[in-house]
């Protein structure tokens, strides 16, 4: 049965309505708020133009947050893709309990980032952590939590994000890997291709579109990293793990400067839009 344009619109209408009311509406109100001195506690609202954006962009804390999220994206996304691809590669062949493995591997993604932050805080903690407990049990010296170390906190966040996201990437890539025609694998095998040869000559070209989509999704997610850090380090030590999303949260909910918080959030959103635009352009090509 072929759906008419009207049918398609009717099917989309409920979701579109919900998105409009609960997503687009508040987002646009937030955008308007960034141009004003709005606060829910005052009736004295003035138009301030782009002053809130200027203040956010001039703030050295925001610059640090942008640098941190840049580093996080630079390291986390390739690692998530590589690890996710490796898991998918291992799961593509028939395997005893494959369905169970797939569900188990999805667990880190299904755990909320807040819960994940709490869990890793206690796992890594020098004094109450499981790691420290086992080291003590073995009579080994104490392990300092990387989350409390100025130089290791951001790499720790990267590692936790990879742990959380890579299985989800595998879940997304596995169908793509399985959809590559068997003949291509056979041709590569007959040509004597190694594992890497098969990956780069068969798998990657066969999944280019999917890899691009997943990459863009991961970059978008990385740029908005917030929940895990909020719980794990609160942006510290110092500003070592501060991200623009956390900066936005702090401005809105700690300082109660809603326009600054919304402006910072829109700067993050703009970065995600740029990633989306690049995706659309590359996908067209």
């Amino acid at each position: 049965m072929r759906l008419s344009r009207r049918d398609r619109l009717l099917l989309l209408a409920p979701l579109a309505t919900l998105m409009l009311v609960w997503f687009a509406g508040p987002a646009l109100l937030g955008l308007l708020a960034t141009l004003t001195s709005y606060s829910p506690f005052t009736t004295d609202v003035r138009f301030v133009g782009l002053a809130n954006y200027a203040a956010v962009l001039r703030d050295p804390q925001f610059a640090t947050a942008a640098r941190n999220v840049g580093l996080l994206t630079l390291f986390a996304v390739p690692l998530e893709l590589t690890a996710g691809f490796a898991i998918a590669w291992l799961l593509r062949r028939p395997l005893r309990g494959r369905a169970a493995w797939r569900v188990l591997l999805l667990l880190p993604w299904l755990v909320s980032p807040i819960a994940s932050g709490v869990m890793w805080h206690f796992l890594l903690s020098t004094t109450s952590g499981i790691a420290d407990f086992f080291l003590g049990w073995l009579g080994a010296a104490q392990a300092s939590s990387p989350a409390g170390d100025l130089h290791l906190a951001l790499p720790a966040v990267v590692a936790i994000e990879v742990w959380r996201v890579a299985p989800f990437v595998a879940f997304l890539l596995l169908p793509g890997l399985e959809s590559i025609p068997r003949e291509r694998w056979d041709e590569a095998t007959l040509a004597g291709a190694s594992v890497f040869g098969r990956i780069f000559r068969v798998a990657v070209p066969g999944m280019r579109g999917l890899l691009l989509t997943v990459s863009m999704l991961l970059i978008g997610l990385a740029l908005g990293t917030f929940d895990t850090i909020l719980i794990l380090t609160g942006g510290g030590p110092g500003t070592a793990t501060l991200t623009p999303a956390l900066y936005s949260y702090d401005a809105a909910f700690s300082t109660n400067d809603w326009p600054a918080g919304a402006a910072a959030a829109w700067v993050v959103a703009a970065a995600v839009f740029v990633v989306g635009a690049v995706y659309v352009r590359v996908a067209r090509e």
Binding site: S125, T127, G148, L230, A240
Partner: protein, 498 residues
Amino acid sequence: MRRYLANAAVLVLGAVAIAACSSGGTNTSSNQKFSGTTVRVVTFTGPQIAEPLQRRAPDFEKLTGAKVQVITVPFSDLYQKILTDFATKTNSYDAMVFDPQWMGDYVPPGYLEDLTGRVQSDSSLQWNDIAPFFRDFSATFKGKVYTIPLDGDFQMVYYRTDLLQKDGLKPPETWDDYISIAQHYQGKDLNGDGRADYGSCWAMKRSAQSYWMWLSVAASFLQSQGTKQGAFFNTNDMQPLTNNAAAAAALNIYKTLSKLGPPDQLNNDVGDSRGLFVGGRCALSLDWGDIGTLAIDTTQSKVIDKVGAVILPGSKKVLDRSTGQLTDCNPTLCPYAVNGVNHAPFAAFGGWSGAINKASSAKVKDAAFAFLSYMSAPAQSNVDVTIGKTGFNPYRTSQFSNLDVWTKAGMSSQAANNYLGAIKDSLQSPNMVLDLRIPQTAYYQQTSLDTALAQFLAGELGTQATMAQITSQWNKKTDEIGRQSQLDLYKASLSVTK
């Protein structure tokens, strides 16, 4: 039909007779004076603070007929939820149990009911039993009472009595003593598990509660002339007291202590530092009253009857505000000094307190006041402050004069005497430091101060740069809001009338 009518008449007469009997027996008509009234009380999710309110609400309903609905929201949302509710005139909360620091934002616009007359005329509340600091400063704004204290929040130093006794050491009187004891125990096995433990355990995590710890250190250097002097701003011109030799000294102590604790201390919140101390892994700690009750909790404490508490350590030098330098204490400069040491116990946060929405109806306000009074009355609060999970700490004179409630809760007489002695010393100090209570307090403390301290501890900023950053940000915010209005409100919060 006639039979039905006869049966109905018998039932009605029976009901009337039962009602009459019960009315006469329990004097219900007077006890149930709030029957049909619902009081909506908002506080944070807890489980602390919300727990005693929820636990005692049914008892209060039985006594008065008033139904108490306890609405809980996450702590991070509580301030805004209440303020938005007031500002938009939604008025969905009749009473609120909150941080009294927020009075600086709630009182000036007229959102809170003036309770001055009510607290004086309510004998069951025993207002004068509440420690003078909480009565006259914490609950009071511009000379009027707006809140009923339910909790006494001030910080103290906790130490391991067994360790100090064994080594012939005295509890710390000054911050130098504190550092010296912490250095003595850092790296030693304090709980017999064969592993190195820590001299001092503090919460130093960013975006948490660590700025209060630094203020506890800075307090004794900054304030020596009594509560009305204030420890945050100069009461003449609203210049921050954050760029001077006192602030520098406090920063240096803070930095030193960051290295005399667990290696990931910079990522520890109060839950972590409390867990470490009651787990027997630290010789010293700094906390509100919570460690005292957690230390007797048999389910988690390894230091039962091994914990002592003392008033916050002090300093022999204090800030001379005219020069910005530290000067040796003398009777003029430090009138409340003990043995030449200026102590300034810090009422960090101020203690959870109950207030009433001015816009609620008269009957609901009466019921709300009755509920807050019931919660604060000695019969209830003297028990609640001994239970760790309530989050309530002592704030009444009777709570540190009556040992029974503490020994019943599991403290030995010696431990109770020690703990209550420290509380008494703090509560009776005329030099107690009131926490900041002006509009946008959250910015001054949670954002500006907290960030700068985190950067300082992490080595991103030096001492001078940290002080300059805090001072510049505080001045900018003050000028943005209005220096004179902030100064007036700061002085009002300190009950300074001139």
